[in-house]
């Protein structure tokens, strides 16, 4: 029996160690790859930013920004006002606000803006059908060269549009006439005035997202065109079709479809858009369950692109890595729960045998734990701090170190596995999280990196 016990114990330890090191390797490889890609392209990014700043505004295309809203009376006015402050050639910018059957005073609010800004703001009202139907409504009633969308709880910096447009390059040439043309441009997203714990940790997460999305755009691997201020060429929708329901993640499906058609999605890292993040952990959980479930279900719908080099880095890098990270988080939580269970059992035995007694503690360097996995974890966290600092600079802010980074590091990895596990369960059962139910607690429909 003891020999069986040894074998069992050794096997469990070996399995746990192998899993731990495989996940650490994947995580470190991901960081090395994105940092390497960024460093290799840093000069190119700066040169392109300078070139875009010097672009001739007279050649800019006409743009319509669609604002789909459902019960957004509290924030839609501010969203429209931020759009009206955009620095863009006069007469070339339209704002199309679509009330998707709101039950509050949203329609009255947007009507006032239409009356005050005729020719610029257009108010539309339709029966409730979900965000993707509101976007499609706007697309079908628009003739401008570029169509953008902005969630009604998000706000743009005045120079955001001007900084994004040059990324379209030769927008006058019809889409599909040349290979690898830019079909969409995404902005740099930040959390609007973070106040609560949930918003403060999201602020750091979004900063990391700015960096990762820029690198993803460099290798053509962006997997989402987020609701807050993604821009699309008008002819994209005649080329590949309108938005779809797509498990309530129409912006993710659109990115998958664009990539699968060998078109390109750019990222304007210095075009800043602020979005209102969920203010409680519960709301954050619901939002992330929807995003991650959507990612998994869209990935299932587009499984045929996975690991096929002809579909580029999204098929070879972003999507498989996203899956690996979700899987690693789910397994990590199982291991963590196992360890936690063992710890609780040990404490209960201790309490039962010797009661509340505390051993005197003396510092001794010998007892400092230095396993390789700990050193690698410290390195991964150090690299992430570097990424956050660089992300500040990338989005036009002064590079700085914020203590909230540690709050993010120590809390987010503990929270994320819960919504990831729920999402895997949803995806396995093909359950689409209710957009309406989420909106009952969280107005935000924007998204960032998983």
């Amino acid at each position: 029996m003891p020999y069986f016990a040894i074998l069992k114990s050794t096997f469990m330890n070996t399995v746990q160690t192998v899993i731990l090191y495989v996940f650490l390797f994947v995580g470190l490889y991901f960081q090395t790859f994105i940092l390497g890609t960024y460093l290799v392209n840093r000069r190119k990014i700066r040169a392109r930013t300078r070139a875009h700043a010097a672009a001739d505004e007279r050649s800019y295309p006409s743009v319509t920004i669609a604002v789909p809203c459902y019960n957004e009376e509290a924030t839609v006015g501010k969203t429209i006002e931020s759009l009206l402050r955009l620095e863009y050639p006069a007469g070339k910018l339209r704002v199309s606000v679509i009330d998707d059957g709101s039950q509050d005073n949203t329609w009255q609010v947007i009507q006032k803006y239409q009356e005050r800004y005729p020719g610029i703001v257009a108010a539309h009202r339709k029966e409730n059908g979900g965000k993707y139907t509101a976007l499609n409504y706007a697309i079908q009633h628009t003739t401008t060269d570029i169509i953008g969308c902005l969630d009604a709880d998000s706000f743009v910096e005045p120079n955001a549009l001007k900084r994004m447009i040059p990324y379209f390059g030769d927008w006058q040439t019809s889409l599909g006439t040349r290979p690898h043309m830019t079909a969409a441009v995404t902005p740099a997203m930040k959390i609007y005035r973070p106040r609560t714990f949930a918003q403060v940790v999201q602020r750091v997460e979004y900063l990391i997202g700015i960096f990762i999305r820029k690198v993803q755009s460099l290798i053509g691997a962006i997997y989402v065109t987020p609701g807050p201020f993604s821009l699309f060429r008008r002819d994209l929708f005649t080329h590949i079709g309108l938005f779809r329901h797509a498990h309530n993640t129409e912006d993710m499906e659109m990115a998958f479809r664009i990539q699968s058609k060998h078109l390109h999605i750019e990222n304007a890292h210095d075009a800043v858009v602020y979005t209102t993040g969920p203010d409680t952990v519960k709301k954050l959980y619901k939002q992330r369950v929807r995003w991650t479930s959507g990612f998994l279900m869209n990935l299932r719908d587009y499984h045929w692109i996975l690991l096929r080099p002809r579909y580029g880095n999204m098929a070879m890098f972003t999507a498989p890595l996203g899956l690996a990270l979700i899987l690693s988080a789910v397994i990590s939580v199982a291991l963590l729960l196992y360890r936690f269970g063992v710890m609780v059992w040990q404490w209960s035995v201790r309490l039962e045998t010797i009661g509340f007694t505390f051993s005197p503690w003396h510092w001794n360097w010998f007892f400092v734990s230095t396993p390789a996995y700990l050193l690698l974890t410290v390195l991964i966290y150090a690299l992430m701090i570097g990424i956050v600092i660089e992300a500040h600079a990338l989005s036009g802010e002064r590079s700085r170190f914020s203590p909230s980074i540690f709050l993010y590091f120590f809390t987010f990895p503990l929270m994320a596995p819960f919504w990831l596990i729920k999402s895997v369960y949803n995806a396995a059962r093909s359950r689409t999280p209710s957009w309406q139910r989420e909106r009952a607690v969280a107005p935000s429909t924007s998204r960032t990196a998983l």
Binding site: K8, F33, L218, T353, G355, T357, F366, P371, A372
Partner: protein, 231 residues
């Protein structure tokens, strides 16, 4: 769609492998240093035990009164050295337990160190027994002799017994506690197991407190009662 940067993928892979290897080397180096430190400590304790043993042999043969009288310089020195060895063995046991957690139970270097440690425990136990019998020191609550035999592998009762022995160590600084792996087929440990009072049918875990065999104790009070009963 942009082309796949194969060179970058490969470069990142190589860098990741190098970082992994670097972390493994640093960790291994630190653990080798710690293992070497434990080995040095074991050697130092072994020398102390040998010195005390030699002194005891000489004094037992020639100067009985000096060995047992702690007021004489030789007796005081023997008592101090014995206490110092007990403290060093306790410290060493903590370090070996820590290293086992770091390196795993199958590490061959650690296995050798643990056997060496068991040998020193046996030598110290014999020496203490010699001094106790020769000087006719009665068993007492302040100086109990505890032998603990545990089985290989996972053992639910051993966890609780471990906590109890830690608490005994704190509450009775003069206690002599020796732990042995019952399933270790090493001749030194097996010789100890073959000696009375251990019945042949006893299965681990069990304890011998001042010469009496006990099953694992349910709590600290039970073990303290066992120590006090033999006072």
């Amino acid at each position: 769609m942009k082309r796949i940067p194969i060179k970058l993928y490969i470069a990142a892979l190589i860098i990741t492998i190098v970082i992994f290897a670097g972390a493994w080397l640093i960790s291994t180096y630190i653990n080798i240093q710690k293992t070497a430190a434990v080995k040095n400590e074991e050697d130092a304790i072994a020398t102390q035990i040998l010195a005390l043993q030699a002194r005891t042999d000489i004094l037992t043969a020639n100067l009985n009164a000096s060995l047992c009288a702690s007021t004489t310089s030789a007796g005081a020195s023997a008592t101090t050295t014995a206490a110092s060895i007990a403290a060093s063995l306790n410290d060493l046991q903590s370090k070996l337990s820590f290293l086992q957690g770091q390196l795993g139970p199958d590490n061959p270097d650690l296995f050798r160190l643990e056997r060496y440690y068991s040998l020193m425990e046996i030598k110290d136990y014999n020496l203490e027994q010699t001094i106790t019998h020769h000087c006719k020191i009665p068993n007492s609550t302040t100086r109990p002799f505890i032998l603990y035999f545990y089985p290989t592998g996972t053992c639910a009762q051993c966890v609780g017994q471990g906590y109890i022995l830690q608490a005994i160590k704190q509450q009775y600084p003069g206690a002599h506690i020796y732990s042995f792996n019952y399933n270790d087929d090493w001749v030194a440990v097996q010789s100890l197991i073959a000696l009375p009072p251990i019945p042949a049918t006893t299965t681990p875990p069990f304890l011998i407190v001042n010469g009496v065999v006990y099953p694992p104790f349910a709590n600290l009070s039970n073990m303290e009662a066992a120590i006090k009963n033999l006072d």
